[in-house]
């Protein structure tokens, strides 16, 4: 229960960061929008025009109850319908690491969105490294709380991995935020050496010049 509440708080702080990255009065597609909290905040605080995609039916119905326009389906279906540059932003919040083919989805997001916002838990975070190193077991943290056998996270990555990925694919990083949800060492460390001290990365991307 406490763990669940902590995770919800973490999600809320993610939302703060993402809301701060979105320009007002833009068009936003939120992939894996859950119960629509982020979209609702963006609508209220940034006056965006928002759409969501979500696979969980109960969550979709909650979105509908909030008045949001949401498509029940998987992320690929959610993107296929749209033409190039249909949205100012396409957001993928804490979902990259559960996808079958994150590379394909990011390319698709870059097609549909003029900008893309991606957030993911950083597997290079020192606590993760320390657990793996010291105990020899798969790490479990607040952001990666599951056992190896029931985790939805099948494509774990570090902030460094992601930066290399972007460079190799000619994807421009317009902005990045490195977050530390449990600031035991102080937030400054996360900015100083994100791949070691941040437990989450948030990136704003755009297609690089050809």
């Amino acid at each position: 229960m406490i763990r669940k509440r902590l995770r919800e708080n973490i999600l809320l702080s993610d939302y703060d960061s993402i809301v701060s990255l979105v320009e007002p009065e833009t068009r936003v597609l939120d992939l894996g929008c859950g119960k629509g909290e982020l979209l609702l905040r963006l609508i209220k605080e940034r006056r965006i025009q928002g759409r969501g995609v979500e696979i969980n039916q109960a969550a979709v119905i909650e979105c509908i109850h909030k008045g949001l326009s949401v498509f029940q389906g998987n992320i690929n279906e959610g993107l296929d319908d749209y033409g190039q540059g249909a949205y100012d932003y396409v957001i993928l919040n804490q979902t990259l690491q559960v996808l079958d083919r994150p590379d394909v989805v990011i390319e698709e997001m870059l097609r549909v969105g003029k900008k893309v916002i991606v957030s993911f838990p950083n597997f290079g975070y020192w606590r993760v490294r320390a657990q793996y190193f010291l105990t020899g077991r798969m790490p479990r943290t607040l952001k990666l709380p599951d056992e190896w056998y029931d985790t939805p996270n099948i494509h774990l990555l570090t902030i460094k991995d992601f930066k290399i990925f972007c460079r190799e694919r000619n994807i421009q990083i317009l902005a990045s935020l490195s977050l530390l949800s449990t600031p035991s060492l102080g937030a400054g460390w996360a900015q100083f050496w994100p791949n070691l001290f941040a437990d989450e990365g948030i990136f704003v991307l755009a297609r690089g010049a050809p």
Partner: protein
Amino acid sequence: MAIKDGKNGGLANSGSVGLVKTHTMQVAAPPDDLMLDCGRNLGPIQVAYETYGELNPQRDNAILILHALTGDAHAAGYHHSKDAKPGWWDFMIGAGRAFDTNRYFIICTNVLGGCKGTTGPAAINPETNRHFGVTFPMLTLGDMVKVQKLVLDQLGIECLLSLAGGSMGGMQALEWCLRYPEKTRSAIIIASTSKLSPQAIAFHEVGRHAIISDPNWRQGAYYSSEVRPETGLGIARMIGHITYLSEESMNIKFGRRLQNKTEYSYELTREFEVENYLHAQGLRFVQRFDANSYLYITKAMDYYNAAEDWGQGSWERACARVRAKSLVISFTSDWLFPSSQSKEVVKALRQNNKDVSYVEIESASGHDAFLIPSQPLSRVVDSFLDNLYQNQGAA
């Protein structure tokens, strides 16, 4: 938000709209005859309708319910205290139900061409004083919608809070969004499509062929004769009914069980439960439905192609007209109006940046699922309408 368990426990059941009556009104009286899509004029037109709940003083809480192929205006409640069954969407309409009669004013009309009180082929042609039969003009879903609009005009309803229907009802809801975008604040389109698949047209044609092959059909002029094309209409219904079920629901409902016995009798009689069920459905149907109406309405469904009518062949272009906030719902086991068709509807609306939500409900009941009580269906419709209702001033 009260979601009922979906069982209709008779008149005493809480939330039921209770005893109701079908009313009739006349529209399109000459010289204001209705110009039909086929080019012919029709008028006057009598329309059967029912209403539940109260129209508020601002007249902005009206919801139009649109029935499917063989439905009628009797969507909820009971006509007599001894009625075995309530109206066809009773579990959705009533106090505390998805279409909450404490909040909304619900209207349901029988479609043009129908046989439950609205002018159709069984009506008397005022020019000849004889039943129309096949001299009745060919109809389109657009014509049906035009008649519904005339009814709302007479009721003094300028703009609908919402409209909702399954199957052909959903196609009409879509037509409303395209034909009268400024009168349609929202629409709920269930187990439906913007055009029938060739497979669905094929099944319709088999049904129609069964009817016109029945010697008692007499070129549609059977109204004054002793016998009616019941065999043909019964077969049409049996075929239709198969398309409304799913492989799984038939497995669950009947399996391979035999009727009242355990061994084959090795003769050409009906032995399986499923055979008897279909025949009983056929028999019941011919008691309540007119064969010519079946011909006309199925044909109107086949003709419907919203992309042609409103987008010069492009469904995406057609959707640019839409102003309604829409909710599209499909059911996983529906193979007559499959999810892929609902998604096509949604796709073009999304491409046009319209407010549209899509929900696919898990169900084994096939196309019939929208007529069967289910929590997700009630809950999603309730949630959609609740938000509209709460934000009415804001729109």
